[in-house]
Point group: C2
Chain length 345, copies 2
C-alpha cells in the first residue's frame, strides 16, 4: 500500500474482499448490505486513509452538494453575520456551503460565479456587487442552477430575493425621530443605484412627508456604505444652513461613522444630534451611546435564504417567491429629543 497515490474505491474493495459496488453501497449508507460486510468495508476505509472523491461521484450523478454563497463585502460585520447564519442553516441540512467574497467588484464577481458553476454548484446565494450586469447572471440561470439574491435586488433580473422590509424600516425610523420632536431630518450614506437604498429612503421620505415635514427640510446625502462614508456625510450635512438635527443612516456602519464625526466636531450623539442605524449589527448595542437601529433579524433572514435554495434544489425549480422579512425598531440611546426647537425658523 504505497502511501502517496491515494486509495480508490477499488483498493477498498480488494482490501475488504468485496466488489466496488458493495463499497459504493456502504458509502451511501444503503441498507442492502449485511452489517458485518459493511463493517469490514468500513474498517478497510479507516485503515487505508481513503478519501471519497466527490468529483467523480458528481460526474456520474450529475448533481453535486456544493452550494455557494457569494458576498460583496465580508468585512462588513452585517454580511459576515448573514453569511454565518446561512452557513449554519445549510450545515444542519447536511451540506457544507462555500463562501466567496467579491470585494464589491463586478469583475471578481464574474470570476467567482464562473468558478462556482464550473465546480458544479447545485445552488447559489448572491449578495451582488454594485453595478452587477444582468447578463452576469444569465449564464447561471440558463445553466438551470437555483440562484437567489439576498439583500440587494438586481435591477433587470427577475431572480428571487430575500430581503428585509426596507420601506417599513425607513418609515419606523422617520416616525421615531419625528416623535422625538425633530423637524429637520437627514438620510445619510448609501448609493442611489442600490435597491436597498431606494427602499429605505422611500419609506423614510414618504413618512416624513406624510407627517408634515416639508420636502425642503429633508436632507439627502449619498456616500460610501461604511464608517468613512458616514463621517463624510455628517460633515457635509452639518455645514448646510438650517442643518438637520437627526438622521437615519443607510446602515449601522454609516451610523458609527456619523457618531465619530459628531464627536470630532465636539457634538455629542443623542444630545446634539439624533442618529438611527439600520441592520442592527451586534456592535450596535455595545457602542457608546448604544445605537438605536432597525433590526432586520439577520439570523432568520439567512435561514430563509438557505431554506429557499434548498427547496429550489430539491424541487428542481428555478423560481421562488420573494421573501420580505419583518423589521423592528430597537430603541437605544442614540436619539435624544430635539433641543434646537425654536432655534431657527
Amino acid at each position: 500500500m504505497t502511501l502517496r497515490d491515494k486509495a480508490t474505491i477499488l483498493d477498498i474493495a480488494r482490501e475488504a474482499g468485496v466488489s466496488k459496488s458493495t463499497v459504493s453501497l456502504v458509502l451511501q449508507g444503503s441498507g442492502l448490505i449485511r452489517p458485518d460486510t459493511a463493517a469490514k468495508v468500513r474498517k478497510a476505509i479507516a485503515d487505508t486513509g481513503y478519501v471519497y472523491n466527490r468529483g467523480a461521484a458528481n460526474l456520474r450523478k450529475a448533481q453535486s452538494n456544493v452550494i455557494g454563497m457569494v458576498i460583496h463585502d465580508l468585512t462588513n460585520p452585517f454580511y459576515a453575520e448573514l453569511a454565518v447564519g446561512m452557513e449554519r442553516a445549510f450545515q444542519s441540512a447536511g451540506v457544507v456551503p462555500f463562501i466567496a467574497n467579491t470585494a464589491e467588484n463586478p469583475i471578481r464577481q464574474d470570476q467567482v460565479l464562473k468558478s462556482m458553476l464550473e465546480q458544479g454548484a447545485a445552488g447559489l446565494i448572491i449578495a451582488p456587487t454594485r453595478n452587477t450586469q444582468p447578463e452576469a447572471l444569465r449564464r447561471i440561470e440558463q445553466a438551470g442552477v437555483p440562484v437567489i439574491t439576498i439583500m440587494r435586488r438586481l435591477p433587470e433580473s427577475r431572480l428571487p430575493v430575500v430581503a428585509p422590509d426596507n420601506v417599513r424600516g425607513g418609515a419606523l425610523a422617520a416616525e421615531h425621530l419625528i416623535g422625538k420632536g425633530h423637524r429637520r431630518l437627514a438620510f445619510l450614506g448609501g448609493h442611489a443605484d442600490l435597491s436597498v437604498y431606494q427602499e429605505r429612503l422611500q419609506g423614510f421620505r414618504d413618512t416624513c412627508l406624510r407627517l408634515g415635514i416639508p420636502e425642503g427640510d429633508i436632507t439627502i446625502i449619498e456616500g460610501e456604505t461604511n464608517r468613512m462614508g458616514g463621517m463624510a456625510c455628517l460633515n457635509a450635512a452639518v455645514e448646510r444652513p438650517d442643518h438637520p438635527t437627526a438622521a437615519l443612516c443607510f446602515n449601522d456602519a454609516v451610523a458609527f461613522g456619523v457618531m465619530i464625526a459628531l464627536r470630532k466636531r465636539g457634538l455629542e450623539p443623542a444630545r446634539d444630534f439624533a442618529v438611527v442605524g439600520f441592520d442592527d449589527v451586534v456592535e450596535a448595542q455595545h457602542y457608546i451611546p448604544a445605537l438605536t437601529s432597525i433590526s432586520v433579524d439577520t439570523a432568520s433572514l439567512g435561514e430563509r435564504a438557505a431554506h429557499t435554495v434548498l427547496k429550489m434544489m430539491q424541487t428542481r425549480t428555478t423560481r421562488a417567491e420573494d421573501q420580505i422579512g419583518s423589521v423592528t425598531l430597537i430603541v437605544r440611546d442614540s436619539c435624544g429629543p430635539n433641543r434646537a426647537m425654536g432655534d431657527v425658523k
Copy 2:
C-alpha cells in the same frame, strides 16, 4: 439543442466541426491550435452556454485548483480581514479560494475539512478552532495535501505556521505601559490553551519582570476572546484589592469590551485606566478613544500565507518554514499616564 441538459465538450466539438481534443486544447489555451480554429470553437462555446466541468477535468488530471480557507470565527473582524487578504492574494494568482467558517466548533471543523478534501482541495489554510485534535489533521497530511495553519499553532502537530510575532507584541505593550508609569498591570482575556495566548502573555510577563514589576503586581485573567469576555475581565480585575491601572488585552475585541465596561463603571479609558489592544483591526482607529494596539499587519500576513501554500502546491511539498510576521506598536489615545501613583502601597 435542448436547453436543459448541459452541453459537453463533445457538443462543442460537433458544433464547431472539430474533435473533442481540439476543443480541450482551446480550453486550456494551447498555442498549438490555429487561431481561426480556436475562434470557431470559442464561438460555439459562447453560443451553447457551455460550462466547463472542472470535476471531470480534475478526475483526469488528479490535481485541482480548489483552495480552502477554514476559519474559526468569521464574525471576528480581524479574521474577516485576514480572510479577504488571503483571498486577494490567491485571486491575483488565478485561483478562487473557498472560505468556510467553523464557528469555533471542532466537530464542524472536521466536517468542513472532510468536505474540502472530498472536493479535492489542492491546498488548505486553517485558522483552527480551540481543542482541535491532532488527529483531525492527520488525514489531511496523509492525503499529501499542502496545509498550513495561520495565527494559532497546533499543540502536537508539526504543521507550518504563519503568525505574527506575538511574544514581541506582548513585550512592546509592556514597555509602553510601564513607560507611562504604570506599575500594576494586567493581561486580560483569552484562553490559556491557545498558542497565541501563551506567546502574547509570555512576552508581556517576561518584560514586566525584566523591568522590575514584581510578580504579584501582574494580574492575569482569562476570558472569552470577544467584547463580552473583555467586559467580564475588566469587572473581575477592578474588584481585586490593589487592582491594576493598565492592561494589555488579548485582542482588540477584548479591548473594546474592557473600555465599554470601564465606562459602565464611570471610569474613563485612558484617563482612569490604560488599555492596549492586539491585532489593530480597522475599527481601532475609529473608536473613542482611539485604541492603542499592536499591529500585526494583517494584509501581509494573509499574503504570506497564500504565497506559502501556493509554493507548496507547485513544488509538491508538504513542508514549509514557519513565518513570523513583525509587529508594531501603534500609539493612539487609550493609554494615559498612571495617575494613581501614590494611591496604595
